[in-house]
């Protein structure tokens, strides 16, 4: 039995290693002063970060990703709240269908969605930026929906009734009673949608265009066509840094542990 347990520990350590190693290597490489990939780097330097911010296409991609993420997650939340309110207190086939609709983008192959939107946008002459925003809103909506729904389901319905019994109409009850109590769930949905949008590849692949790329697509282009410039590592490190900042924000606002508990 001890042998099996030791073997399992080994597997766990190996698993942790292979999952984390690629990310760590990229981030560390971003601080390398050399021209080409050297690991471990001989010293640390911010050379490639300077390079990153000096390249207009990199800067633009970064700011587009950022703006897009903020707007798409806000849109996702605005979509998700009414839908979650509808689903939370009811049951029946329609409710199940709405819930399935909102969770579908989670499992549906996003590459197909990207292609579908591309064709659709071309047909209705949708400009790039709004098109991207709509696509990311669709992709992010399930995350906002899930967390908001979880928050509503753990919300005591008697509190809403108490609001009604004191004369508060549905809208008033929502803003004065429900929202103040579920805002952590809503916020964590927003943050998840942000993270997803910021790293999203498959719809951006088809929907971005010259002059309008997101950071992950810019990284991908560089890797495909410009090879070994370590500026890509710096771009990647910045992507990871944004994620960590968001995660820290979740922890401050809601507490990460509460999130995984749901």
């Amino acid at each position: 039995m001890r042998g099996l347990a030791a073997l399992r520990t080994l597997v766990v350590v190996l698993a942790a290693l292979v999952i984390v190693a690629p990310i760590v290597i990229v981030v560390v490489t971003a601080f390398s002063p050399t021209d080409f990939f050297v690991f471990p780097p001989p010293s640390l330097s911010l050379r490639w970060f300077h390079e990153f911010f000096s390249l207009s296409e990199m800067r633009d991609a970064f700011s587009l990703s950022l703006e897009l993420a903020v707007m798409a997650s806000s849109a996702a939340v605005v979509l998700a709240i009414p839908a979650a309110l509808f689903v939370a207190r009811r049951s029946g086939p329609v409710v199940t269908a709405v819930q399935a609709l909102f969770l579908a983008p989670l499992v549906f192959p996003t590459i197909i969605l990207g292609l579908a939107l591309l064709l659709f946008y071309r047909t209705i002459h949708m400009p790039i930026l709004p098109g991207l925003l709509l696509a990311h809103s669709v992709v992010g909506a399930p995350y906002a929906f899930r967390t908001t729904l979880a928050g509503l389901q753990s919300f005591d319905p008697a509190l809403e009734e108490a609001g009604h019994s004191l004369g508060a109409g549905p809208l008033q009850t929502f803003f004065l009673v429900v929202l103040p109590l579920i805002w952590p769930s809503v916020l964590s949905g927003w943050l998840f949608a942000f993270i997803v949008s910021f790293g999203e590849l498959n719809t951006a692949l088809f929907l971005t265009g010259p002059g309008h790329t997101t950071l992950p697509i810019e990284i991908f282009s560089y890797l495909q066509f410009q090879g070994s410039q370590l500026v890509v590592a710096a771009a990647s490190a910045i992507q990871v840094a944004m994620i960590l900042i968001m995660v820290a924000a979740i922890e401050r606002a809601v507490g990460l542990r509460r999130l995984v508990r749901a």
Binding site: L79, I111, I112, F120, T123, N202
Partner: protein, 287 residues
């Protein structure tokens, strides 16, 4: 049920978001399906005549069938690896006390938040000609010339398996953690040792987690264009690469048809997984 005015408010509530998703999710997909039944056109997006040519071409061309096979093989390898490595890790995580389990869940979520392109780049840095592995092997003197580790199916499998592993672990760990321990205790009281208890009780009862883990890993593999391209390159194109190729060459109807073949593959394999594992018969048990 609340008074009638609240009821109708509820419906009005759900309508705008539902309409939005219908317009920008379901609608475009239906449109794509429609396009897949048309011929190519040089001036327009597609030719006006309805035809099954695209699907016929895909079905009849051995090239497409080869790629399909490669896709399925790669996906199977990735699923197998994720399951083989993920299950023991999930067992460990599930047995942790609550607080540590929550921390483990957070640690598992973190890599998933990093964009796939960054994670794939990491593997490029490890497996490339001037990557870590080759440099290390060269320094130690085991090889004279750098090995071509990238642009192989193995690189794709390795890369995607490590990228998707946390999904499998989280899936299985959640199911295991919510299993009532008394099932295992009952088995032991009836005389089953640890291995038999695991095989006959724990493993079957964990099938919902295994099923959802496999489904998730499979679906994400099908869609992972960037990772497949970076790690597999031209020699190891999968179905998703063909979709992209047709798009950049403006073969919209063909691309659409390939996309729906991809979807069909997703549905068939998903149904298979669910049929084999039958997680439904276990659901509802456990705490």
């Amino acid at each position: 049920m609340p008074a009638r005015s609240l009821q109708s408010l509820g419906w009005a509530l759900a309508l705008p978001p539902v309409l939005f998703l219908l317009a920008f999710f379901v609608g475009p997909l239906l449109y794509l399906l429609y396009v897949s039944f048309h011929g190519a056109s040089t001036s327009d997006l597609y030719n006006a005549e309805l035809t099954l040519a695209n699907y016929a071409a895909i079905a009849g061309d051995p090239f497409y069938l080869r790629v399909l096979l490669r896709t399925l093989e790669t996906a199977a390898a990735i699923m197998g690896l994720c399951l083989a490595v993920g299950y023991p890790v999930a067992m460990l995580v599930a047995k942790l006390p609550r607080r540590r389990r929550e921390i483990a869940s957070i640690l598992l979520l973190l890599p998933l938040m990093v964009s796939n392109v960054v994670r794939a780049y990491g593997w490029v840095a490890i497996l490339g000609r001037r990557g870590l592995v080759n440099i290390a092997l060269g320094k130690v003197g085991l090889i004279d010339a750098p090995l071509a580790l990238l642009y192989t199916p193995a690189a794709v499998v390795l890369g995607l398996a490590t990228i998707l592993l946390p999904y499998m672990v989280i899936s299985i760990a959640n199911t295991l953690a919510s299993l009532d321990r008394r099932y295992e205790e009952a088995a032991q009281a009836l005389g089953a040792g640890p291995i038999r208890t695991f095989l006959h009780v724990t493993l079957p009862l964990s099938s919902p987690g295994v099923a959802s883990g496999l489904l998730l890993v499979f679906l994400l593999t099908l869609s992972a264009y960037v990772t497949v391209t970076l790690l597999g390159g031209p020699p190891s194109k999968l179905l998703v690469s063909l979709v992209y190729d047709n798009v950049v060459s403006f073969q919209w109807p063909r691309a659409a048809a390939l996309a729906f073949v991809l979807l069909a593959v997703a549905l068939v394999v998903s149904a298979l997984i669910l049929a084999v594992l039958r997680p439904g018969r276990v659901r509802g048990r456990g705490r």
